[in-house]
């Protein structure tokens, strides 16, 4: 059982010491301060206390945080350096943290500057888009050498017009000549969508021209208030676009010049977050004129520290165990090997605080399943080396750290099973020896080759599955007993143990008489007891439906056949890759082909089967194992602490 035991903490203190308490509780980081909404709706409480909220300060900080985070994003966006794959929090001493913030005024100004530059950049982008659009709209009129502002004379109209490309221009010209004999039309340009032309006509014939236009679907073009010819305008616009691009580059350069300030900005951001959180937590406090009240949860193991702090500051406090059925926040506590597998539990859902954390019960089987499914020792080495390197090189924390560590263990398990089944990059040694040295070499399997004796492995998978399922059922029984319902444990789990063991023995053929009676006792027992919580006729039906669940157990066990299937898949595909590689024959060319195919093929196989192994070993835990007993729905323990994004602040312990 590895859910941390929680204690309930109630504190009364003087308002004058509130700030100090909040600050030091945050540094300590082990107390979750809970919301007191319920107390406020209680009349007795309501008369005495009010919520201690400081929304104004919080919103001021929120505003600053938003600006700082925006500025950081902008720097990141235009940054010239490479982005790191993993973001690692740097550790920094408190003194240095404070020293970095000495020029706080300057940092604030920098942020304003950066955000202003970004706005300027957006404006320039906008302007250059507009210029580009205008230029594009003028390009078809390049050959039109009259100034664009020229729209006719006293008695004539000059019309610029476009018509869909489907229209026959000659036909249009002919009709125009018939209806308005004094007009002149000239095609300037055609592209894939439209014909562009100009028409000169008498003002008196304008209505006839318009009519022809309408019948052909022409539309008049207005170029706005531009002066000069299209060519001149395009030239001007091009110059303008260049200027805008230059200006944009300059703005980007000036943003980049702030890159050196990035660390300061990050620290400033973290400081703002800390201050904001300190102000925000006050909404969970209740206050009178001179005193405040807070309630919270603290893990039993850290209770002493919290009490010392409270005593030091001079608060009155009370610490007690939660009521029997009270829900507490959930903090998983697993040591050593099981710790990283908490990630799998968290990915599913935290356990209910009154139930159990299954992590330590499935961690070993998770690693075994993963190893059997990836099933190649060399892949295991790759996985273990890569994750081991990451663990050494970077200081990871939280979920990422757990997952990486988990894959490290899974890698080791993969090496073990790969060696058992004699798979090292499939059969690369055999293939290479045969192709290049005409030798017959095989790495022997420590146990056996699954391709040669698949039934043996299949049965082994079922045995593993059976153990896994029995463990899950056992946990269910244990929960029932802990809950004071030992008979439920016997009826719902014990009888199934009897039946399933009986059937298994029958199938194996050992001690048939004993096995037969075992199975019969189990089946009859289930038939009689499965409907015990129902009424009347339901008792009988319940018995039968209970017994029918045997199909569920059958399918559960069969589900473990994926261990064999996925293990075969990665092994056989690895061999396929090796065979493809050997098609180049011996010699230099053959070696090159082999290397190329090896790298691409095995990378692909490793990734796709690694993903498959992760998904399917999770599935076996979630569906087959958790399905037997797991109660989810716990709320994570969220202690009030320095929730920084970029740096960890190290305080000297005095």
């Amino acid at each position: 059982m590895s859910i941390a035991r929680m204690k309930k903490l109630s504190v009364i203190g003087l308002v004058s010491s509130r700030e100090e308490l909040i600050e030091r509780l945050m540094t300590l980081g082990v107390v979750e301060i809970t919301d007191q909404e319920q107390k406020l709706s209680d009349n007795q409480w309501c008369e005495m206390v009010t919520r201690d909220a400081d929304e104004n300060t919080v919103s001021v900080y929120d505003g600053q945080i938003a600006k700082a985070s925006q500025a950081l994003e902008i720097i990141e966006k235009y940054s010239s350096g490479k982005k790191p794959l993993l973001r690692i929090k740097k550790s920094i001493a408190l003194q240095e943290f404070q020293k970095m913030l000495e020029g706080e005024q300057g940092i604030g100004e920098d942020i304003t500057q950066i955000n202003a530059l970004s706005v300027r950049h957006a404006e320039l982008t906008n302007a250059s888009n507009k210029t580009e659009a205008l230029k594009l709209s003028l390009l078809p009129w390049l050959e039109h050498d009259l100034p664009l502002e020229e729209l006719g004379t006293k008695t004539t109209d000059l019309i610029l017009s476009v018509v869909p490309v489907a229209v026959d221009v000659d036909q249009l010209k002919k009709e125009l000549a018939e209806k308005a004999p004094a007009s002149v039309a000239e095609l300037i340009h055609s592209d894939t969508e439209q014909h562009y032309f100009w028409i000169l006509c008498l003002k008196t014939e304008r209505s006839e021209v318009d009519e022809v236009f309408r019948s052909y679907g022409c539309s008049q073009v207005h170029v706005g208030n531009l002066t000069g010819t299209a060519r001149e305008n395009v030239r001007v616009l091009e110059r303008k676009a260049e200027e805008l691009a230059d200006a944009k580059c300059q703005v980007e350069d000036s943003i980049r010049s702030y890159e050196s300030e990035k660390q300061k900005l990050e620290i400033f951001f973290d400081k703002l977050v800390i201050l904001r959180n300190r102000a925000a937590i006050r909404k969970n406090l209740l206050v009178t004129k001179k005193t405040f009240y807070l309630e919270g949860w603290v893990p039993a193991s850290a209770a002493a520290k919290a009490c010392n702090l409270l005593a030091e500051i001079g608060c009155y406090y009370q610490i007690e165990d939660p009521a029997k059925d009270e829900e507490t926040p959930v903090l998983l506590l697993n040591g050593g090997f099981s710790m990283p597998f908490e990630a799998v539990t968290k990915l599913y859902a935290l356990p209910d605080s009154r139930s159990i954390d299954a992590t330590s019960f499935f961690s070993l089987s998770y690693a075994i399943f993963f190893g059997m499914m990836l099933g190649d020792a060399a892949y295991g080495v790759v996985l273990a080396v890569v994750t081991g390197f990451v663990l050494r090189k970077y200081k990871l924390e939280g979920m990422t750290c757990q997952l990486v560590k988990m894959f490290f263990y899974c890698g080791i398990s993969t090496i073990f099973w790969g060696a058992m089944f004699g798979s090292w990059f499939g059969d690369i040694v055999t293939v290479v020896a045969k192709t290049f040295f005409q030798a017959d070499v095989t790495i022997p399997a420590l146990w056996f080759f699954p391709l040669e004796e698949p039934m043996k492995l299949l049965i082994f998978c079922f045995i593993l599955g059976g153990i896994h399922l029995f463990l899950g059922m056992g946990l269910n029984a244990w929960l029932s007993i802990k809950d004071g319902r030992p008979w439920d444990a016997f009826f719902d789990v014990g009888l199934w143990y009897v039946l399933l063991i009986g059937i298994t023995l029958l199938l194996v053929g050992a001690v048939p008489q004993f096995a037969k009676w075992l199975a019969i006792i189990g089946a009859v027992g289930i038939l009689l007891t499965a409907g015990r919580n129902r009424k009347g006729f339901g008792k009988i039906i319940g018995g039968f439906t209970g017994l029918y669940n045997i199909t569920g157990y059958l399918s559960d066990v069969l589900s473990y056949s994926r261990l064999l299937a996925l293990g075969l898949a990665s092994g056989v595909i690895a061999s396929v890759v090796n065979i493809l590689g050997s098609f180049g024959g011996a010699g230099i060319k053959g070696i090159l082909v082999m290397m190329l195919v090896f790298v691409i093929g095995h990378t692909y196989n490793f990734l796709i089967n690694g993903l498959g192994s992760f998904v399917h070993s999770s599935r076996l835990q979630y569906v087959e194992f958790f399905g037997k007993f797991y109660v989810s729905g716990g709320k994570a323990f969220q202690p009030f602490r320095e929730n920084t994004r970029y740096v960890d602040i190290l305080k000297e312990v005095n």
Binding site: A565, L568, A569, I579, I608, Y622
Partner: protein, 166 residues
């Protein structure tokens, strides 16, 4: 070379190859469709939030396994009848060839349909990731439930193939 068609039709190796074709082709088609369906959903999500590329790619890859299972069976059939070894194909009877052909059918057809169904399920999970990226694990489990049946079919194909005596 002039081979009468009956001799091809009654040739064991021909039937074995046909089995390999069924396994690789039909299951492969299924995976292609399934991955395609998931890919469409993924592209839609990326248009809103390019940062989810990695997560959606993981989900998109899930329906791809049926094609691999098909390839696996095809490869095993080919290697069983000696197509991949230097000596050329073995001399097998038509009955043996037909057994091998039949053993390819489970993974072929279950692979086809389960990959498409898994693709749809993966697409739905990708949509879910768009709203709740923290629930990636659950989003992977739903498509994995579908895959169970492809795994079972692969197993049946493999056991049948393995039990054919040449």
């Amino acid at each position: 070379m002039n081979i009468p068609y009956e001799s091809i039709l009654f040739d064991g190796v021909f039937w074995a190859i046909l089995g390999a074709v069924i396994a690789a082709t039909i299951a492969g088609i299924g995976s292609a469709i399934g991955v395609g369906i998931a890919g469409q959903a993924a592209a839609g999500v990326i248009s809103e939030d390019p940062k989810k590329f990695g997560q959606t790619l993981v989900l998109q890859a899930l329906p791809g396994t049926q094609g691999i299972y098909g390839l696996l069976i095809a490869f095993l059939i080919m290697s069983k009848v000696g197509l991949l070894s230097a000596g050329g194909p073995l001399d097998i009877t038509m009955a043996q060839g037909a057994y091998l052909f039949a053993s390819s059918l489970p993974i072929g057809f279950v692979g086809l349909l389960s990959a498409i169904a898994q693709g749809k399920s993966a697409a739905a999970s990708i949509m879910m990731i768009a709203k709740r990226p923290e629930e990636l694990a659950k989003g992977m489990i739903y498509p994995a439930m579908v895959e169970t049946y492809a795994v079972l079919a692969l197993l049946v194909s493999f056991l049948m193939l393995n039990s054919v005596q040449l």
